[in-house]
Structure formats: structure tokens, C-alpha cells
Symmetry: C2
Subunit: 615 residues, 2 copies
């Protein structure tokens, strides 16, 4: 396989510098000095180490590249131009609203599997891609991740580092561009490259240090990295921010600053330009793509519950996930040492090879899921709902990546009881509803939990399934369907005074409240809003119109951002009066039933509220 | 200073085991085996190493203790009982709704500075407390943090580890209880204590390993830790989960399981009980408390802007923070390598000793702020609004702690322009509104930004200030007051067709829209909703009533959870029609004005929308 000579790689590095300077100056914004420090590294990775087909970004045998230091996007775009992916002229469209070459890389570019730009996340994405290659596809592609040094402070990097060595990901090569300068000051360790090497070595990596502008040394390191077995490899490269331009090199105050077009830019270009060949330049190729993409192979086996069985929705989730794994080979599961609580363990038992224990490290778990999704897998990621907040930035970035991930949060609400507020998911609906175009499900029984889990596998983007800790009665027949954006009317009559909307644990409280109210001569409608987003606006409006335009929403969630706001948005414009009942303060330990009552969402408290509204 | 003999410490350890078993059995829930592994460690820390006054939890000279492995709460409560803080009988109230002894520690207990229970956060809290002692109060108290081994996988721990050694926190002692068992399986490293020691040593700590059930070794290690200078100290203790009870020791499947009252519990108690003395036991005392608590010393100096000056609210924030630091000695600032963008650097320049650079590690930044707040400081924590999502779990736990922290997120919305979506805060209002009893401010000009920053310093709980990147005209006189829950009506007449509610960048767009609409014969009211939470419900209702009960809310934020929902909640019940304009998809790079227009929130697009509503 042909690779480039050092002199050619140096020419390429110069060209990458020229492109980075020109494109950011043209855009009037961007991070050229962060690109300049990485030029030799990127040249060597793309034109010596990696095997990929510039004409076929979807070839599953391509080596992967993740630019964790996403603000260096221009140098990535430049490398792809020099590989012939697009003309170098197009680099001048950087950051324009009409261009796919955004300020930080997004998958508008097929070469970018996952969006980066929020630092410290790229290594997790790389871990996911490496897990896919080594453990799932048994492919020999490699994953290269280029990080900055400032972002090594991010805990997510260390979560990824630990898991990468635990899973012996010797198809993963990380490179740190240590230019010593962060955004607002020098980094903690400046140019002390040994610190990084020592730390990653302590985390089980094979680590070496190089002069990041010495191509010979870089190539030696990359070749050595490819030969490492049983552990991931790290190359710590000492570089200079702004390398190649005398008035930029290692100077503070130039982060995120483009050069002004005119003499400032021209003088810099004079310094970095080379007399070498023009591109495009050849890259090493992978094997041709042969495998067809997996798809689901058969229908999801129906649930098998009896009405009235007491089953926790978290348990039914586990059952469903295991069944799903049996009919869809793309489904994989990740959990953060809570699998016996979330019931992801059912998937582990049934499909050991597709389960990834991520330990107590939720950020990396989500980042790895992004990497797996970028490789065509269908990841279900579970932990306690409360702990999904640990990964909100990764969930946010996953949405920017446009990948499809199913998040499953168990132990929602005060209904978990004595463990207390640190373990209670009370803001998870708010978090997941905020993600644009997300889907949010909140099943109230085992049948719904199974059906919605199966449905989630087919949906695009972010899907969230909220599960509960306590066992609750099965309400639906096994054949019941639960479409996206639907709801279920569980109690209705011609004389309903108002409609109660609920889901999960409070749906069961509402059904009890129904009986208590009925006994007191007050008949109400009860709706199970299992699809929190999109919500069944039509259904709710219809019910409201028949029930005095009065709706009571009760949820085991904080007051802002949850089911109540979903309902409010759906019906308020039509003159429907919405009364929200939710948890309005930080709760505390206690028995589940005591807490439901103390925080206003028990059957008794619902009855109280309805009575005041129907007095 | 008197400390206890080893035999006494062993007796205490036995008593801690008895209490942990009894209290969790009584509660019917809890994590006794996690307590049993830590008994010698806790005995040694409380009754040999720490100096504190059991009668005076507020003594600022007390050593601090943070139980990072918060699920071991019963052993902490037991230690406090054995120190005489409360009677041992009260331990049986564990997890009851009437008791302060919650499932995981919360500051209902004055000895608990910060709530724990979401793993991997305690070391950050300890870092904050240590920074306070070493850098601010120049006190010689020490901070002890007890961690579990499973939580070492959390990235937040490594953020804390790095910053602790960077700041040479030799008043910080961390102890890891390595019992090898996580929640759902054995940890990544089981009993390989050298791995932990090696990693922390690589992170600059003085690390040693001990048998965690050998008190002599533990005492030696604790004494050595106290003598370490210039770096934090770590003791890695090899322990057995369930130690002391033969049928529990090192057994899988016992995490989070109490023993059944009756023979199961009794047989365990027989094994762990000792014949030693009863408590309470003496602890070493600190110096008596002498210092009076700091308070703000003088009035905040007024802003000094001219109407029409173009100033970014992020810049005004920096100015205000520096002034605030001059009148309130408790104010401290933390930032995550964005100080030149958030303008926290103004505080650094003015009050170097009270500024803490936290580098690119937002989780630890928030956790450290919690530690500082627990020590009576008034922390302002800043980064890009988008990156505050990185710390959502820490923000969540800070709310459970009930501490007062001011979060400041800059670079909100698509208005930041070409950097693109990874840098845009678009869900930050949703996140911060979900926190119970939070305050959320969104200043539209420099005067408001300064006033609200000064006001924020006086507020309890979580306060969030959202700042914008672009420079915008000063709208208010320097003397204008901005009360919590207020709003400002900027344009009003007797014939307003509807009310536009906005804040920040879109408030300026709305003012431009006002002019364009007026020229077209459509007069509207414009309200600056600078207090997003609590929102000025009365003011909005009043305006709506005068303007055809029609309100248009426009925000540079995603559609769910932001200003629009705040308005909806305030007015919908009263028949006001609310039309929300917000960003409804993941945005992209482009010029700020192009993006505002593309995503529907520019002046032009507001005009378009208003015209359809008033046609």
C-alpha cells in the first residue's frame, strides 16, 4: 500500500497551513493557530497512517478520524481537500451559511461521524467506533482521534481512556497536539509532554512522546502505534500553536483569531508556503466494501402479560430489549453499572457480545454510543434518569451529530422512595424535551414499556424512555399499539367534569383517584400520555372540549419542563385551563407512598385538587 | 491533642458496623455492605485524624469530611453519633420521612456541607473546601474525602485530581475504599489498589496503599498524609465489601441490600459486635472559632453607561463582577478557560486571589463552587452557556445541597454566529428553569447585566445569568432597578395590537421589529422579560389584557423549556393566546444576522409573524 514520502508529507503540511490561514481569514473567524500546530500531525495521519477511500465515505472498512479538538475544523477540511474529496477552492466557503464546512465539524460532511466542538468528547466517540470495529464488526479498521491538550482536563477524556484500555482497544490511536496554550491562558502543563504520557500510561495506554513538527518522528510513532497489541496507543506531540508563522508561534492572545486579509495574512502565507507539488495526494486504500448493512430481520415478539400482573416498567424494558436484540442485529446496549436496576442485564444475558458495560462514567457511555451509532448500530443507553444529567452535554452534541440513540432513564421521581433526591430523576423530561425533535416516551405499564422500546429502535434522532422503579399493574392487552404522538383514554364518560392527564407512576395514582372521586360523585376522564413528546395534542383538545375545558396534569417530575408543560403547549392556545401538579421543591427520603403524598402527587392529593376544581 | 488508641478505634469500627447493619435493617433499605468496608477508615479519620468540635458544626476551623460514596451514609451518621453529635438511638430513624438522616447525606445535617449520592462529585466539593482553607481563609483545617472505587471511573474525579495538584492542595486528603465490588458487578480493577495509586501519583498526588482493615497501617498513612507538603495526599485502602460478616464479605449481589430483621441481622451482629466501651468517644478539637463571618461591606457602585452605548452583556457582567468583588469579600469567581470570552477575567485582574481558573473541566468547577459555597463564599461560575450542560448533574446536586451559586452562561443562542451549534447555548434556560426555586435572569443591556449581577449575589439557591456575545445598545438609565420577578415595558401605547415579550438579543430584534411594524401601521407593546424565573406574571397579564390577549414570545433558545414556556405558564390559564417563536431545529454556522433570520427570530421574521397575527 503506497504511502507518501516525508518530503511530500511536509509539502502537504504546508498546504494545510496555507488553507487554514486562508479559509479563516476569508471567513473572518475561526482558529488558525490551533490548526497550524496540528499540520504535520494531520498530514501524517491522513497521508501515511490512515486507509480510506476518498470517493466512498461510507465504506465500512475506512479508518475513522475524529477531530476531538473540533475548533481545528479548517485543517480537517483542508486534509480532505488534499485527498481529493472536494476542491481546495471550496475551503474558502468555511463558516458560510451556505456551506457544509461549518465552524466546528458536523455530519453535514459524510466524513464526520460525530459533531465535535464541545471539548473532551471525541475520545469517547472514538472508543465507540473502536468497540464497533473490534468487538462487533470484527473489522481491522483503525480509529484515530486528534485531541488538544487543554481538553485533556475534561473528565470525559479519562472516562474514555479507562474504558479503552479495559476493552483492550488496540485499534484506537489517540494523538494529543500539545501546544501548551488554551483559550484564555497557557494550559496546566504547558509543554510538559511527559505528564500526558505518564498519565495515559497509568491508564493502561501505550504512550510515546514526539516532536509534533518532526515528520520522521511522527511516522515512526504512528507505525509503532499500529503494531501495539492489547492496549490503545497514544502519541503525545509537542507542538507550537501558530507553528510556521513567526509572529504567531507560541504567542498568547491568538486563540480563535483569524489573520486580517491583506498584509497580515499575506506575510503569514509567505512564511508557510512551500514549493512542493499541488494536490490532491494519494491516500492508502482500505479493502473494498462488501458487507451489506444489517437490518432488522423479523418482527418483535409480542409481550406476554396478563392484565393486572404487577410488573415494573424498568423490568419490562429489560425483557423488551433482550427480545429486540434477537430480531435486530444492530441493537447494542450500554449501561453504567446499574444494569441490575435498569434491567439492561437482560440484554447482557441474551446477547453478551453486544452489551457494553461502561461502568460509572455516563459521559463516556453516551459518547461511545454516538460512535457506535455513527457506525450503524442502534444503541440503547441506560442508567438512572437522574444520572443521565451527567451526560447532558454529550446528549446535546449527539443531537447536533444527528445520530439516533435511545436513552433509557430508570428510577424516575420521588416514587423511588428512601434513597432520596440524589437518586431521583426529576428534571429528565425537561432535559430530553429541550433537545430539538427528540421523542420522549413514558410508559405506564409493562405492555407499553415493551411496545415503546421496540418502537424506539425504529426512530431517528434522540429517543428517551422514562422507566419507574415500582411494580405497577398491567393495564393494556398485549396486542395494544402505542404510536408516536398517541395517548390512551383509560376512563371516560359523558359526564366527566375534567380530564386528568398523567403517565407512569402518577397514571396509577390517577386511576386510584378516579375510583375515589367516583365514589364521591365526581366523574373524571383519565388519559395516559405515554408519548410526552410529541404529545397527542388533538386527543387532549378533544378530551378537554368534552370535559369543561379543564385539564389536570400530574407528574412525578419537577414543575418546569415536564409533562405539564407538554400539555400546556398543546392546549393552552385553545382556551383550555391547565392545572399542573408536580414536585415543587427538592424532595427527601421517605417511603414511596409517603413521598407521593407529601409532594402532592398521590391519589389522595389528586382527589383533593380535583375536588377544589369541581366544587 | 488527644487521639484514640488503636484498640479503641477498633471498638469504634465495630460499633460503626453494628449501627450500619441495624439502621439499614430497620429502614428496610440502604447499603450496609458499603458501610462495612469503610468502618476502620471512618473510625480512624473521625477519631484519630480529624479535629472538629462535635458541639459546633459551624466552627470554621473544623476539619471537613465529604462522603463522596454517599450511599455509605449510615456509617457517617454512626460516626457522628459515636462523637456525641446525636444519640445512637436516633440512627434507627434512618431514611424515615421524619428524620434528617436521609438515604444519602444532605445538609439537613449541619455536618454535611454538600449533598452527595451522585458518585464522583465529592472530591470536587473537597477541592472547593480545600481552596477555601488554603487560598482564601488561610486556615489550617484539612479536608478529608472518602470515595468508593467504582466512582473513580467518573471523569469528575480526575478533573478534581488534576486541579487539586495544580493548586498544591496539601490540606486535602482523599481516601479510596477499594472493596472491588460495584453495584452490578466487580469494578474494572477489582482489588488492584496499585492501579489507583499509580494513576493518582501520575496526577501529582502523594499516594500510598494500605490494608483498609488494618488500623495501624491506616493511622500511619493518615499521619503521613498530614505531613505531605505541596501536593494533595491519597490513601488507597484495600477493603472487603461486607467486612466483618462472613456471609457478606466480598460477595456479589449484596450491593444496596439490607439484612432482614430477625436471624439474618442477628447472626451478622453477633459477628461484628465487640466488647469494648460504649461511646461517645472523644475527638480532637480545633482552635476555637474567632472570626466573624464576612458580609458585604458597602454598596455596589452604579453602572456608568450612556444610553445607546454598544456593550455586550457578557462584558458588562465582567465589569460588574469586578466591582462586586470590591464591596463583598465573600465573592469568588471560577471559570473554565473562557475568562476572556465570559469576561470573568475582569475579576481576575481586580481580585487575583479570589479567582480560580478551573481549566476546561466544568463538572469540577461547579463541584468546587459547591465546596466554596459550603464554606460561606459567594461563587460566580462562568463558561459558555452550552458548556454548563456539562455540569448539569453537579448543578442538580448543588440544588439538593441548597447552596447558593451564581451560574453565568455566555454565548447564548444562534446569535453567536459562525462558531456553530456546538458553541451555542440553546437549552440552558430549560436546564436552569427545571431546578426547583432557581432564579433565572436574562439581561438585555449592560445596565441590566450589572444590576442583575449585583442582585444575584444576594439571592439564595441557584441563580443563572444568561449573557450574550454581541454588543447591543444600552437601553436603561444607570439608576434603573431590576427587581426579581420584574419586567420592563419598553414600548406601549393605547392601541397596541399585541405584546411582544423577549429578552437579550431578541429584545433588540423586537425593538427593531417595533419600528418596522409602526411604519407599517401596526403598533405593538414590547416587554423585556429580564427575569425569566420568576417571571412577571402580573405584568404580563396586565399587558395582555390591554393588547387583545395576544402575546408573542421570541427567544434565542430551543422551543421547549425557555422563555416561551415561562410566559405560557404565567398567562395561559387566563385565556391569553401565546405564540412562541424559538429555534426549532439544530442550527448551523453562519453570520449572526443570517442565523437569526434563518431560525425565525430576527426583526424581519418577527414582523412577518406579527403581521399574520394582526392581519
Amino acid at each position: 500500500m503506497a504511502t507518501q514520502e516525508i518530503s511530500t508529507l511536509q509539502t502537504i503540511a504546508s498546504r494545510l497551513r496555507v488553507h487554514s490561514l486562508r479559509s479563516t481569514s476569508e471567513a473572518g473567524s475561526g482558529h488558525p493557530t490551533s490548526c497550524l500546530s496540528a499540520a504535520e500531525l494531520v498530514s501524517a495521519v491522513f497521508f501515511h497512517a490512515m486507509r480510506f477511500d476518498p470517493a466512498d465515505p461510507a465504506n465500512p472498512n475506512n479508518d475513522r478520524f475524529v477531530l476531538s479538538k473540533g475548533h481545528a475544523a479548517p485543517v480537517l477540511y483542508a486534509a480532505l481537500a488534499e485527498a481529493g474529496v472536494w476542491p481546495t477552492e471550496s475551503l474558502l466557503s468555511l463558516r458560510k451559511i451556505t456551506s457544509n464546512l461549518e465552524g466546528h465539524p458536523t455530519p453535514r460532511i459524510p466524513w464526520v461521524g460525530a459533531a465535535t466542538g464541545s471539548l473532551g468528547q471525541g475520545l469517547s466517540v472514538g472508543v465507540g467506533m473502536a468497540l464497533n470495529g473490534k468487538c462487533l464488526d470484527q473489522s481491522d479498521y483503525r480509529v484515530y482521534v486528534l485531541l488538544g491538550d487543554g481538553e485533556i482536563a475534561e473528565g470525559g477524556v479519562w472516562e474514555a481512556a479507562a474504558l479503552a484500555s479495559y476493552y483492550q482497544l488496540d485499534n484506537l490511536v489517540a494523538i494529543i497536539d500539545v501546544n501548551g496554550l488554551g483559550q484564555s491562558q497557557r494550559t496546566m502543563y504547558d509543554h510538559d509532554i511527559e505528564v500526558y504520557a505518564k498519565r495515559f500510561a497509568a491508564f493502561g495506554w501505550e504512550a510515546c512522546t514526539v516532536d509534533g513538527h518532526n515528520l520522521e518522528a511522527i511516522l515512526t510513532a504512528l507505525d509503532a502505534a499500529q503494531a501495539v497489541k492489547g492496549r490503545p496507543a497514544l502519541i503525545v506531540a509537542r507542538t507550537l500553536k501558530g507553528k510556521g508563522v513567526s509572529f504567531l508561534e507560541d504567542r498568547e492572545g491568538w486563540h480563535g483569531k483569524p489573520l486580517k486579509k491583506g498584509e497580515e495574512l499575506e506575510s503569514a502565507l509567505r512564511e508557510v508556503s512551500s514549493n512542493g507539488d499541488d494536490g490532491p495526494f494519494l491516500v492508502a486504500r482500505p479493502a473494498a466494501s462488501t458487507a451489506a448493512a444489517d437490518t432488522a430481520s423479523s418482527a418483535f415478539p409480542e409481550p406476554t402479560y396478563q392484565l393486572g400482573d404487577k410488573v415494573a416498567t424498568r423490568s419490562a424494558y429489560g425483557t423488551a430489549l433482550a427480545k429486540l436484540g434477537g430480531v435486530d442485529p444492530r441493537v447494542v446496549a450500554l449501561d453504567g453499572d446499574t444494569k441490575n436496576s435498569t434491567f439492561a442485564e437482560a440484554f447482557l444475558k441474551a446477547h453478551k457480545d453486544r452489551y457494553f458495560e461502561c461502568f460509572i462514567a455516563e459521559q463516556n457511555m453516551v459518547g461511545a454510543a454516538v460512535g457506535l451509532a455513527a457506525c450503524g448500530k442502534v444503541p440503547f443507553v441506560s442508567t438512572f434518569a437522574a444520572f443521565l444529567t451527567r451526560a447532558f452535554d454529550h446528549i446535546r452534541m449527539a443531537a447536533i451529530s444527528g445520530v439516533s440513540i435511545k436513552y433509557v432513564g430508570s428510577h424516575c421521581g420521588v416514587s423511588i422512595g428512601e434513597d432520596g433526591p440524589s437518586q431521583m430523576g426529576l428534571e429528565d423530561l425537561a432535559m430530553m424535551r429541550a433537545i430539538p425533535n427528540s421523542t420522549v416516551f413514558y410508559p405506564s405499564d409493562a405492555v407499553a414499556a415493551e411496545r415503546l422500546t421496540a418502537l424506539a429502535a425504529t426512530l431517528k434522532g434522540a429517543t428517551y424512555i422514562r422507566t419507574s422503579r415500582p411494580a405497577t399493574p398491567v393495564l393494556y392487552l398485549n396486542t395494544e399499539a402505542f404510536p408516536v404522538g398517541g395517548s390512551k383514554t383509560l376512563r371516560a364518560s359523558g359526564s366527566d367534569r375534567l380530564t386528568i392527564v398523567a403517565a407512569g407512576v402518577t397514571l396509577h395514582e390517577a386511576l386510584q383517584a378516579y375510583e375515589m372521586l367516583k365514589a364521591a360523585g365526581v366523574v373524571v376522564r383519565v388519559i395516559d400520555a405515554y408519548s410526552v413528546k410529541p404529545i397527542d395534542a388533538q386527543g387532549l383538545l378533544h378530551a378537554a372540549a368534552q370535559t369543561n375545558n379543564t385539564v389536570v396534569v400530574v407528574e412525578d417530575h419537577y414543575y418546569d419542563g415536564g409533562l405539564g408543560d407538554a400539555v400546556l403547549n398543546a392546549v393552552a392556545a385553545h382556551g383550555v385551563r391547565v392545572h399542573k401538579i408536580a414536585v415543587t421543591e427538592v424532595p427527601r427520603s421517605g417511603k414511596p407512598e409517603e413521598l407521593l403524598d407529601a409532594y402532592g402527587i398521590s391519589a389522595r392529593r389528586i382527589v383533593e385538587r380535583v375536588k377544589t376544581l369541581t366544587a
